[in-house]
Every structure is written in C-alpha cells, then in structure tokens.
C-alpha cells in the first residue's frame, strides 16, 4: 500500500533526470513513472505536488557540529537533527570536537544511539585522529572503526605533525577509512582571526594568509602518495588550493574536498564591521578566492557542499571579534545559498549536496539517485522558491544568513519514508 506520491517533478534517477512521479511505500521507493501514471499504484496515498521542483536524494552534510556530548547549551543531537531536516538533510556526519572529544568507541556508540533515538536523520560521527584531539599520539583508531566511525579528523585543529599524520594514514589506508584534514598551517595562522588582505591591514588585525591552507594540502598530498589513504580536505577556502586538488585527482589519488556555503557567499569585506557572525575558521577570503570556489564546485574539483554548522550561544558571539569563537550555523539555509550563489543544474546540485558527500563519508543507504526499490530518503527542492533566514530550529543563532533572502527553497524532506519537514504554507 503506497503512502506518499510525489507528483510531477524533475526526478533525479540513476538513469538521469526525468519528469515523473515518485511513489513511496514504507521506507522504500516503489515506483518512478511518467507523471500521471504512478497514482494508479493507489488512490489513498498522500499526494505532494512538485510542479517545477526537483525530487532527489536527501541531502547529506559531512561537516556538522552537534556539540553533544558536552556543550548541549549550544546544540544537541535533537535540535541539530531538526535543523538538518528543515534544511533538506537526511544524513549528517557529526564532528568529534565535543567534550570529551570522540576518541574512543564508546563515544561513537553514544552519538549513534542518540541519533537513532531522535530518528529524524541518519547521524554518523567522525572519530578523532589523535587521542584527546591533542595532536600527540594516535587515537584508538581500531576501536573507533569497530564502533562505526569511517571518517577521522581532528577538525578544529590540523594534524600538524607530518610523521604522526603519516602513521594515521597508513593505519586508515589498511582499515579503509578517510583522513579528513582541517588544513591550516598553525605557524602561519598563529594569532590570526581573519584573512590576510587589505581589510585585515586596515583593521590592524592579525591575519591568516591563504597559503596556510595550500601549504598543508600540498604536504598532505605527498603523504597520500606514500600511503594510499583516502584524503578529504575540509572547508576549502583558498583558490590556490584548487589546482593542487585537480592535479591530484587527475593523477588518480583518492582525494576529495568540500566547501561551505559561507565561503561561497561571503568575502573578508564583511569583516570590516567586526561583527563576529563573520568569524569562522578558515576565514572568509578574498573575492578571487570566493569566485574560484564557486567555479571549483561547478566543475566538480570540489566534490561536495558541507555546512560546517557550528553553533555558539549568543553570549559567546556577543563580544568583540577577536574574543569570539569561530563558526556559524547554516543547515537550514545551505541549499538555497548554494542555489543562489552557484546556480547549479539539478544533477550537479544533488551530486554536491547528496551523492558525493555520502560517498566520501561512506554513508551506506544515503546519497543514492532515486530508483524503484531504493531507500526513501528524498528531498524536494523548489528552485523557484525563496528562503528567508529566520528563526532557526538550532539552539543557536550565530548565522550570517539571518535576515537575508535566497532563491530556492526546500519544500519536503523525507527520511526513511517519513516526512521530517514540509515547508509551512505548502498545502499538505
């Protein structure tokens, strides 16, 4: 007995985009057929009109700070899951820089259990590369792996020691895991709060040159050649890093990269206000960098969009710029920001928002082009809609998108056959 009928949208199937209906029963897609035919599967299914909309695999965020355990005053797995569902996400990869950091198996199991209890999205979690995320010795990689971690990162800090990183990559290459690098050279970044350029010069602020990222990636690519380990570059910020990635991919190295919506949408010019809502790591960079990132995402050298959703409480951000913590939230607005700023056609859009990130993070069952028999993780995106940055479902409000309008809107999110979000005002 079918439960839902997505009616008459552009369906992103494993055979390409097609104008069709999608029928869902239980937690599966049971049919994809020419518009108008699918309803014959049953008349009591709930019909969701999708005229002019894109029906594709649920979005997958591979860079989310859920702050649980330890900092639930900023966010928790439940509030983060609600924000994710509202943003069209059906899966996310929680970062391990919690308190305590996720550096052993029981902590992985805790996060996975909480995610299942909430049940709005698939919650996966990355493990730390080093014990206590301290950059000194390897974390319990076997134990983390056995508990379900597939991506390993000290996110928030770079794994700076090349010898230690090499050992981690040798280990992960054998397990089949992914080393995900927060690529910022600590020496060049020391004391820095923003991009090194004319704005920092005018403000007198200690700054971080774009080379701080490029240098780390250049070094790490040599270690990928040595170890064969899958390597992922987090939150790309510098245009100069992109040719290195393109060459590495050309060479056949197992290398991937992500970019955040805020690095696609903003530059260091915003920081002239010293409003901490524009403080993040890596920092917003120059217009040439921003334009390079947009082009890199279009071409596919940059595989995926990742939010780096980083909640902080008001009292933490309502301070002078230099005293504020890094990060902004963005789960609910990412898709519209990307749609407006980058303007991808639907195949590349869902590739960047869903298919490639799911593959990078080894999230089985997610990021699959729609097909009969496939999992019913589905997001309906309306490129003609409008998203207005308003109150967030997150516990925090540190977002540069609040008060702005972006073209495109998530209309429906379906996770395992259940509607986890529908835009208010859309007839049910």
């Amino acid at each position: 007995m079918p439960d839902f009928l997505f009616r008459n949208g552009t369906v992103l199937t494993s055979d390409g985009p097609t104008q069709a209906d999608v029928v869902v029963s239980g937690d599966r897609i049971v049919a994809i057929g020419p518009a108008g035919d699918a309803h014959e599967h049953g008349s009591d299914a709930r019909e969701l009109r999708c005229d002019g909309m894109w029906i594709g695999p649920g979005f997958v965020d591979i860079h989310t700070h859920l702050r649980e355990p330890g900092q639930q005053y900023k966010e928790d797995i439940e509030s983060g899951s609600q924000a994710a569902a509202a943003g069209g996400y059906t899966a996310m990869l929680a970062m391990p820089n919690t308190e305590p950091p996720i550096d052993s198996g029981h902590l992985v199991r805790y996060v996975l259990d909480r995610g299942r209890q909430v049940g709005l999205v698939d919650v996966a979690v990355a493990g730390c590369v080093t014990a206590e995320r301290a950059g000194k010795r390897l974390a319990h990689l076997d134990d983390l792996w056995a508990a379900g971690a597939r991506v390993f990162t000290d996110d928030g800090d770079v794994v700076a020691d090349a010898g230690l990183l090499r050992r981690a990559m040798e280990y992960l290459a054998q397990l089949g895991g992914v080393l995900s690098q927060h690529a910022i050279d600590p020496g060049l970044a020391r004391h820095g709060h923003m991009h090194e350029g004319a704005v920092a010069s005018a403000l007198g602020m200690y700054a971080i040159p774009a080379a701080a990222e490029t240098i780390v990636v250049a070094r790490d690519l040599e270690l990928v050649r040595m170890t064969g380990c899958s390597y992922h570059v987090q939150h790309l910020s510098a245009a100069a890093t992109i040719p290195l990635l393109a060459a590495a991919k050309e060479e056949g190295l197992p290398v991937t990269a992500e970019v955040t919506p805020h690095h696609l949408a903003f530059t260091d010019e915003e920081v002239i206000t010293t409003d901490p809502v524009f403080k993040m790591m890596p920092p917003l960079r120059a217009e040439a960098d921003r334009a390079g990132l947009v082009e890199g995402l279009r071409s596919g050298v940059i595989d995926a969009v990742a939010t780096d959703h980083a909640p902080h409480a008001d009292h933490e951000k309502d301070v002078p710029f230099e005293d504020a913590p890094n990060g902004v939230i963005g789960l609910e607005w990412a898709a519209a920001v990307v749609n407006e700023v980058v303007g991808l056609e639907p195949v590349r859009f869902f590739e960047a928002m869903s298919v490639r990130p799911a593959a990078i993070a080894r999230l089985d069952g997610q990021g699959q082009w729609l097909r009969p028999g496939g999992p019913a993780h589905i997001t309906v995106f309306d490129p003609a809609g409008v998203t207005i940055g308003e109150r967030s479902r997150s516990k925090s409000r540190n977002s540069p998108y609040l008060g702005r309008r972006y073209a495109g809107a998530v209309r429906y999110t379906m996770y395992a056959g259940e509607l986890t979000f529908q835009e208010s005002g859309v007839p049910a």
């Binding site: 403000l203 007198g204 230099e322």
Partner: protein, 311 residues
C-alpha cells in the same frame, strides 16, 4: 561626525573629512587658550557624566581624558579592568550596559580587541569615544598630533611626515595616516619589512625600509615605540639591529632639516627608537603632544555632548 552631528561616536579617523578635522582642531585651539587661563575651567558640560572605561592599562590617555572632562566641568566615573567585575567573568556587554544604567552621558572606551568600542557603541545609547582598540585606531591621538603639527607649521598642507617603527601593529599609525593625509600632509611609513603593513596598498602613504634614504626630506619624524609585548621579539633580528637601522640616533637627528621636528606618542624607550639627546631636544615635541592631548579631547567631548556656541 562634527558639523551636522549625524554620527554620534568618535571611533576612527578613516571616515573623517577635512572639514570635520579642521573644525575639531579649531575648537581645540580654543581649548588650548582656555587651559592657559588662571582658572582653566569652563562650564560647558556641567551636569554631564563621562565614563572612562579602560579595559587595557593606560596612564596618559586615561588621565588626559579625565582632565579634559573636568576642565569642561563634566563629572567623571572611571573603571579599571583589574578591579572590576570583569575579573569575576562579567562580559563586556553586561559591563557597559551596567555602566549605562548608572546614568552616564558618554563612554570613553579602550580595549585590546579591535572593534570593541564600535561593538559597545552598538549596545549603548550614549556616544562612545575610541581611546584605542588593539592595533586598529586611536583617533584622539591623531587629533592631538595634528594639533601639535598645525601649531608648529601653521598647516599640514605639504608637510612631509615620516612615521617610523612598528606600523603593522600600531593604532597610532593607522589613525595618524588617515588624519594627516586628509589634512594635506604627505606620509611615508618607515619600518623593516616585517613591521610594514601587509596588503597596505590602500593606505594613503608611501612605504620604505630605508630610513636614511628619506631622512633629509622629512619635516616631521614620528617615532613609534617598539612593541615587544605584541610579538616584537620575533619580527626583527635584534633590538640593536633595529636601533642601527631605524632608531633616531643623534647622528641621524643631525642630518634632519634644521627646522624638522620629532614626535612620539609615548612611552618612549630611550636608546631604542630615540636617542636620549634627541628626546630632550627642544625640537622634540613630545610634551607639547601631551599638553595638546587634553585640548584635543576637550574638543571631541564638547562636540559629541552637543555643546554649541563658545566653550
């Protein structure tokens, strides 16, 4: 900010027009005269309360503002970070909202964080004067320096000013460059490469690392203190080398134009950026700068607190 009083704060020199600066300097000239009277006090700001909020240590700027406020008959309340609730963990925002609730008419804010006085101005309803925010701006310093130079030369038009020292980390340099060039002076920044501004193409100034090459062209040498507490130790090889290349030694002083003057925002480190003989020479205007600081700050307080007519 002056003139139509459309901007109620004094946060940076970057957006001040020549008219703004000239009017403030003219007012300051009047304050200089006032301060030379037997009873150096005017009733202009009677009944107003000025709060000095120094979240970073300061001697001369804090005393200068308090003297300026009192000379205009304002009441003053002050605050030293070490003795305040900040040391108990109170946030900057809560601190300034508390001060506002006490009933003050203007806040003078110094803070180590860039943009902090601007943030405070967003949070409170009273005017805010930036008394120095990190390496960003110290606009009343630029005003008192402009006043000192104008007293000496009659105008800043065509005056060649060399600012020498840690430009990159200096709020004095950042505020001075804009004020001096807006008033018609030509500014050259002199420092080792590691202390020149990064990406400073937009600055209204020339830059060089060859002090001796520009020395004889200058009408005014503005020396900055070498700020070892801001990581100075690692940005040039040694203090001795710094002094040899960038210090105003007696020998270099002798090569200056005969009527050239020397300025320094203080505190001076004799023997590093300035030779003791130079510091004590009548052409070193350091104490004039301090005296003019009171008058310049009186002018800013007077304009921001809506004083009109004669002070």
């Amino acid at each position: 900010m002056v003139g139509g009083c459309t901007v109620k704060n004094f946060l940076t020199t970057e957006d001040l027009t020549r008219e703004d600066l000239t009017r403030l300097l003219d007012t300051a000239d009047g304050m200089v005269s006032l301060l030379q009277r037997d009873i150096a006090k005017a009733p202009a700001l009677r009944g107003k309360t000025v709060a000095s909020l120094f979240f970073e240590p300061s001697t001369r700027t804090r005393l200068s503002f308090e003297k300026a406020a009192k000379a205009l008959s304002a009441d003053t309340v002050s605050f030293a970070a070490a003795a305040s609730s900040l040391s108990k963990g109170e946030s900057l925002k809560d601190t300034v909202l508390t001060v506002q609730a006490l009933g003050v008419d203007l806040m003078v804010v110094r803070h180590k964080a860039i943009g902090a006085p601007g943030r405070v101005a967003e949070w409170v309803d009273v005017p805010v004067i930036n008394a120095g925010d990190g390496a960003h701006q110290h606009p009343t310093q630029a005003l008192l320096d402009s006043l000192t130079l104008r007293q000496h030369f009659g105008t800043l038009d065509g005056v060649r000013i060399g600012i020498v020292g840690d430009i990159r980390h200096s709020r004095v340099a950042r505020s001075g460059v804009y004020a001096f060039s807006t008033l018609g002076a030509t500014v050259t920044l002199v420092a080792p490469p590691t202390l020149l501004p990064i990406a400073g193409e937009d600055w209204p100034a020339e830059t060089t690392s060859e002090f001796d090459a520009v020395l004889t062209d200058l009408d005014a040498v503005y020396l900055l203190r070498v700020q070892t507490e801001r990581g100075g130790a690692s940005v040039f090889p040694s203090l001795r080398e710094y002094t040899a290349r960038f210090g105003l030694t007696a020998e270099r002083f002798g090569r200056l134009k005969p009527d050239a003057v020397v300025l320094h925002p203080g505190p001076m480190i004799r023997g590093v950026e300035i030779d003791a003989v130079v510091a004590d020479d009548p052409r070193a205007l350091v104490l004039d700068q301090v005296r003019n600081g009171v008058a310049a700050r009186m002018a800013v307080l007077y304009h921001l607190l809506g004083g009109d007519g004669d002070a």
